[in-house]
Subunit: 502 residues, 2 copies
Amino acid sequence: MKPRILLTLSSLALLFSSGVAVADPVAPPSPLPENSWSVPVAPGGPFARVYLPQNAPVGSDTVYGDSQWLQMNRNARHNAAVRVPKDAPAWFREGVFWRYAEARAWPLERRHPFGARTLGETEAGAVQTQFYGNALGVSVVGGVVYAESDDMFAYALNARTGQLIWRTSPVGNNLMGNPLVTRNTVYLAAGGVGFNFANVVAYAKKGSAIRGMDVSYNGIYALDRRTGRLLWHKGSVGEAMPTPVIHGRFLYFATGSGTVHALDRHTGQSVWKVRLGGNDNMSSPAYDKGRLYLAMASPPRLYCLDARTGKTLWHGTIPGAANTGMGDVSPAVGSGVVVMDTVTRPKRIHGRPTLEAVVRAFDARTGKTLWTVSTGRGPKPPAFKGGVPLIHGDVVYVGSPVTGRYVALDLRTGHRRWAWHKVAATRSAPTYYEGSLYIAGGDSLYRLDPATGRETGSFRIGGRMGIVSPTIVGGTAYVANSYDWIVAVPLSALSLSKKKAS
Amino acid sequence: MKPRILLTLSSLALLFSSGVAVADPVAPPSPLPENSWSVPVAPGGPFARVYLPQNAPVGSDTVYGDSQWLQMNRNARHNAAVRVPKDAPAWFREGVFWRYAEARAWPLERRHPFGARTLGETEAGAVQTQFYGNALGVSVVGGVVYAESDDMFAYALNARTGQLIWRTSPVGNNLMGNPLVTRNTVYLAAGGVGFNFANVVAYAKKGSAIRGMDVSYNGIYALDRRTGRLLWHKGSVGEAMPTPVIHGRFLYFATGSGTVHALDRHTGQSVWKVRLGGNDNMSSPAYDKGRLYLAMASPPRLYCLDARTGKTLWHGTIPGAANTGMGDVSPAVGSGVVVMDTVTRPKRIHGRPTLEAVVRAFDARTGKTLWTVSTGRGPKPPAFKGGVPLIHGDVVYVGSPVTGRYVALDLRTGHRRWAWHKVAATRSAPTYYEGSLYIAGGDSLYRLDPATGRETGSFRIGGRMGIVSPTIVGGTAYVANSYDWIVAVPLSALSLSKKKAS
C-alpha cells in the first residue's frame, strides 16, 4: 500500500503526530508516553529494548550462585568465582556449553581482528576490544549472565541455555564494565574513550584534559533487573568507563574528569563528589572496609578515600608511572594489602617504544609501600596498559601486557613463585576456583596449577580476549570477548593438549 | 523449551557451530557464508541490514528528480535542489509530508537536547548532532531518500511515503555525510570525531595529531543501492567524516590524517593518495573542472589539487584562521571562484572565548585572493565552526554560527547585500529553488527572498538542525536533523506567521 499523500495545510497538524515510523495519513500513531523516551532510542527501532520473559530462568535455576554482584570481578580481591552446593541442579555442577553472538559479533573462527589490514594486527585487536567487544568479563547472578558490550548494548542471558532474556542500549556509548546487580537493579557505566579537539588543545597547554568530554554521553544507567527497562540515568562530564562499586545504599564511580562520585543507588541523587584530578580510564574502585581504592592517570596516583565522605586518606604512586597505565588498572585489595600494577619509564629501544611493568603493594591502612617488583620491560602495549591483579590467599597473580607473562608473587614480600608465558595480551585477573587458576588469554581459556604455574588444561574459544576474567559459577566458566561473544564453557572441557602450541 | 545442556567432550565439536544466537544441541545453525560477515555485524542482530523491497518506489515515481548524487549538497555550488518537469506525478510537484524516526530519535517536541542538564544547552545540542543525529542533509535520487546518521545507520526511504526500504549499519562508527549515489551504488564515509590519548600526547609534543585514529573504524563503505548490501569497504587511518566526491571512475575523500585518497569507485582500489598534513574534519572536497578543492585544519589551509594526480596546484589560507574551522567547512566553487569560510583570531572578551568569522573568495585557477569579508565576532561556537557557503548566480549566501546571521555577498566583490538574523546556529548552506532561498535553522525551515533577505515563510519542524541544507525535489523539502529524524515538508506548507517570533 502506497498512500498518495497530498496535503492541505489544514491536514498538517493532524499528520504531525509522534509517529515513530512513517506518519500515516489515515491513523497517526498515538503519542508515546514521556518516560518511554527518556533517552534517545526510537521505540520500535534497532536500539529499542528487547524483553523475552519466556527465556528467564525459573525455579531452582535462580537460587544458586550469587544473589548480587557489587564490584568488578565480584570482590575487592578480583576473584570472579562462586561455588555451588551439592544440591544445586546438575547443570550448575557439571557445566554448560553455549555461545551467544552480540550485536557487533565477528566470527570466532577468524584469525584476524576486524580492521587488521588498515590498522595492523596489534592495534586492530585493541580497537576491536574498545569498539565492538566486551572489555571485561560478565556478571552472573541468580542464573542470569549480565554483560556489557562496546556494541553499546547490555545483555541478560539465561546462564543455563544462553538464551536472550533482554537486550537494551539506553544511550549511544561504549559500555566497558562488568554490570553491577543488586536485588532489583542492574547498573551500567557508560563512557567513550576519546578526547575532542578542544581537549587536545587544553592538554597541550596545561598537561591535562578531561577524557570523554563532549565525545560521548557519559554516566550511570540503572535498569530494572528483570526486564532491562531504564529506571534512571545520571550524566557525568568525563567518561564513566570503569565498573562502579556498590556498598550499602551507595554507588561509587570515577570518571575521565578525575572526579569520584557517590550516588544514592536507589535514586541516582548525588551524595558527594570529589575532584582528584587526572583521568580514571578503567580503574574500577575497589571497596574494602569503609574505604575506596582507585587510581588516576596524569598525574598517576593510587588513592584511598573514606567511602563515607570522599576524603583522601592517603595517596601513593609507582615511581616512573607512565601513559595511561595507572588509570587503567583496578587495584586488588585483600588481607590489608592493596596491589597495584602500572607501566613505567617509557624508553625507545632500537627505535621502538618500550615500557617496564611494575607491581607495588601498599599497606591498605597507611599507604606505606610494602614492596615493589618489576615484571620486566617490553614493547609498549596498545590501549589498556596494565595487568589487573588477583589476590588469593597469600599470593598475588598478575599478568603483564608488556612481557606477555603471568607471575605469582608472594603477597607479603613480592617474592616471585613462578611465571607463565603463553599468550601475548595478558591484562586480566585470573580466577581462582577449587584449587585451579583460570586465565582467559589469546583465543583460549587456560587452567594452571596455582602452586607451580604448570598448565593443566586449555580450551580454544576463538576470537580474542580483552581484560576478561573468567566468571566461574559451579562447573561453568563464562567469558565475554573482544569479538563480541559471550561463551559458556564447562570446566570439564579444559583438556591438556598432547602437542603444546608454540 | 529449555534444553538441558550437559556435554561430553565428544559432543563439543558438533555444538561449536557458527550459531549466531544460542548454540542448539539438536540442530546447530549452518555456518554463515563468509561474505555475509565481512564487517562485525551479527546476522539477525540489531545491526543486521533490513531490506523491505515492497516499500521501494515503482514506475513513474522512480524516473523524475536526479539520477545520481555525486557530491555534498549535490554540486560544487552546494545547491541541493532539482526541479521536476510538469509531467512528473502530482506528488512530486505538490509535495509530500511525512516524518521518519531514525534509530536514536529524540522526540521532536522536546525543547532541550538530550544531556542538556549535564553538558549545558549549547554543548548538548552540538554533542547530539555528533552522536545521534544527521549532521548533514539527505540525498534524493530516483524517488528514494538516502540518509546517514550518527546513530551509525544509513537509511533508504521512499521519497513519497517515507517508508523504510533498507537500513544498514556496516560498521560501528559515526556516519556524518551526505550519501553519494551512482547507478548501482551508495557510498558512505565513516569516521569518529575523537582523539585517543597517544594522539593527545603527540599533539602536545608536535602540534599535530591524527583525528579518529584508533578511536573508531574509518573509511569508505560501498553498498548496493537497491538493497543496502555491503559491496566493499576500504579502511583509512584517520576519520573519513566528510562526504566524498565522485567524478567519473574515481571517488575522492579526505581524512583526519590530512590525507586525500582517490579510489576506483567500482572496486575500492587505491588510485593515488597524498598526505597534505593537518586534519580534514568536515571539509568535503568540491570537484570542479578536473580539480578538487578542500581544506585542512592545523595548519589551516585551502587546497586545490589536480584530480588526476593529487598534485597540489595551489593552496591558500584565511589569515588568523583558528581552531578546527578551516577543516570544517566545505568550499563552494562556481563561476571560477572558490568561496571559503572559517573562524579566526580567538580572543577572550569578558572572560568568554570569542571568534571572528571571515569569508574569502579565491580565484579557482590561480588561488589568488579576490576578496575577504568579516562577518563579525561572537561567542565561540561548539563543534563545527563555520558556515558552508552556497553560490547561486553572482551571489554567495553564507551563515555564521559565530554571529547567528546569514549574509548575501556579491560573488565578484564580497559586497554585502543583506543580512538575516533569526536562528542561532547558522552553519548550513541555504538552498536556492525557483526564486526562493530555503534555510534549515533552529527547529524550522525558513524561506527568504534571495534579493532582499526578507522572510517569506517558515514551518516549524521541531528538533534542531545540524549543518543541514534542505534538499528540494519539486514540491518537497527533505530535511534530516540532529534529533535523528528525516522529515519531508511540502513547500506549500511554509507560511508567513503573523506574529514574528522574537
